[in-house]
Symmetry: C2
Subunit: 337 residues, 2 copies
């Protein structure tokens, strides 16, 4: 950790909590919440040739609690949250309602700040810097575990994508296999890096580029599946956060935040979205040629209207996009600060 100090705490049920930066210890009456029993299996879907994770304890997971019961807020006398601290800057903990358990996978929750209100879009610069360090540290550490082949950093934002907690946070899934989407991306990397070529095409065309500066490029890809999908990536080839300088990482997160802010302005409402980060797989012999990129999938196609995944998307695998990527880029570009 070049910038942030990390403190590791093991909860009574064995789950680890990592506090990054400064913190104040938990109140004396702190009682760690315990992980419920569950069934965790990986099942092979031979029709789609993919793994399905079965996690049959998650039904009981915390669902839109009252603000005073927020499990991601600092603990206080009488309220023991997931975070054994009375104040903290950023925290990571092993999910109490995971999709998979070790060995065979790891699920972590990344809490961006101890402030309940706000979002990734409103994080101040020092928290953004800390988050870059946290993500990099988690990528490095999870990559070293023998059962991990792919570290997947993502954020679900908004009730419309199923978010059950409002406190600003993201997640990390460390899979014991390379998931289908990044696997497909990597299969194409036969002659040079596909992502490098896509960036070059977008920069040549200019038409869909939102941001080009400080080593980072953001654009609405011409082949976007979602009406306002945006990809954010490093202009030169970088396999992962760990292969970036701290300055380039901060530039990446700053660009991501500019995109997230434009989203919130687009329909004058907090935009529900998924943010996913594709990086190099890990393990003994990972495929080469991965190029870090972040994909934002915002789920509104108009004010008050969600883009749904229906028969064509779910049953055939064919996305229908109601918008032209070029026009979406124009609208978002006008909203960038």
């Amino acid at each position: 950790m070049p910038h942030a100090v990390r403190r590791e705490i093991v909860q009574p049920d064995g789950r680890r909590v990592y506090l990054y930066g400064d913190f104040v210890p938990a109140p004396e009456d702190y009682q760690a919440p315990a992980m419920p029993n569950g069934v965790y299996q990986r099942r092979w879907n031979p029709l789609r040739r993919e793994w399905v994770l079965v996690a049959a304890s998650r039904q009981a997971r915390t669902f839109l609690p009252e603000r005073t019961a927020c499990p991601l807020c600092p603990s206080r006398p009488g309220h023991s949250s997931e975070i054994p601290a009375s104040r903290y800057q950023a925290a990571v903990f092993e999910n109490r309602f995971p999709a998979m358990v070790a060995p065979g996978g790891h699920c972590e929750v990344v809490v961006y700040t101890d402030q309940h209100d706000g979002s990734f879009a409103t994080l101040p610069d020092d928290r953004l810097q800390l988050l870059a360090d946290v993500w990099t540290d988690r990528y490095r550490e999870l990559s070293r575990r023998p059962d991990v082949r792919y570290v997947f950093i993502f954020e679900n934002r908004g009730e419309q994508v199923g978010v059950t907690l409002h406190h600003p946070h993201g997640q990390i899934y460390a899979y014991s296999f390379i998931p289908p989407v990044p696997a497909t991306e990597l299969r194409r990397q036969t002659r040079g890096c596909l992502q490098c070529r896509l960036i070059r095409d977008e920069l040549d065309g200019k038409r869909r580029v939102l941001i080009n500066g400080a080593g980072i490029v953001a654009y609405v890809p011409g082949y976007a599946r979602w009406p306002y999908e945006v990809h954010v990536t490093s202009r030169t080839h970088r396999a992962s956060l760990a292969a970036m300088t701290p300055a380039l990482r901060m530039s990446l997160l700053t660009s991501m935040q500019r995109v997230a802010r434009a989203y919130d302005r687009l329909f004058e409402t907090p935009m529900p979205y998924m943010m996913v980060m594709h990086q190099a797989p890990t393990g003994a012999k990972p495929p080469t040629q991965a190029h870090l990129h972040v994909e934002f999938y915002p789920t509104l196609r108009e004010r008050g209207k969600l883009k749904y995944l229906a028969g064509s998307e779910s049953g055939a695998g064919v996305f229908i996009n109601d918008t032209l990527a070029e026009e979406s880029a124009d609208r978002l570009r006008a909203l960038l600060e």
Copy 2:
């Protein structure tokens, strides 16, 4: 058409309407709605190796109209619907807000009945029989078009999967390529039929079988992605509706309806779902070994709680199922009539 008579009507904008069975002509003041201009493109997504359909006129499509303005109800003096008939039994028309246009694809709407209320689950037997004939006719006819490689019959049901019209109806997309999901299924058909093997496994195991009779098998697949996913298929190898006898087709639809009724009982509310039918591709040299099967993806995981596709599903391609397929099968089996 062995059972139903088909009458074809061409609207002024060139879109075709097919009336199946008996009907009463439209009122004299009938004014056909016209298709708006739009941009229709097929774009290649090189990261996911899939086509994305761009359809940039659909934003204006009819969205939950008042009941009296329903575009799928029969026309009457003063109300011209999509159907140029004052009464009808079943109708198919080319979508006025399509995802693709000829040449390069076809989008049809299949109206199950002229009765506004009800659903696939409540169709009487004679309409179910007619629907079997309609689907078979559309599969045959669309298969013969030179720009069609795959005929995809499906239904989106419920506002929670983006349905914009409540009148009982489904859709057909005739793609000019084999979509990724059926393409993946067909790639596995190296030694015999995969679907035949999966059926045998389910019947041997018994544990997840819901229906086994009259040539049709329905089960919750062990590798279900959705909490109450059900597959319905012919016990012996049948490539498509066109390869089935009328009796077997009726048995298929009756079994599908039993599943749909069990869904509506499960949480005592109309279950939102996607129903998709995978059949043999068409065209000059279609892959062999396709085996017709219907997949139901109901989107509720509990009463009032939707299963969302979030970061893991959308960005990594890894589904997380909160339920055990075996327990889901038990619950659904108890609700079958």
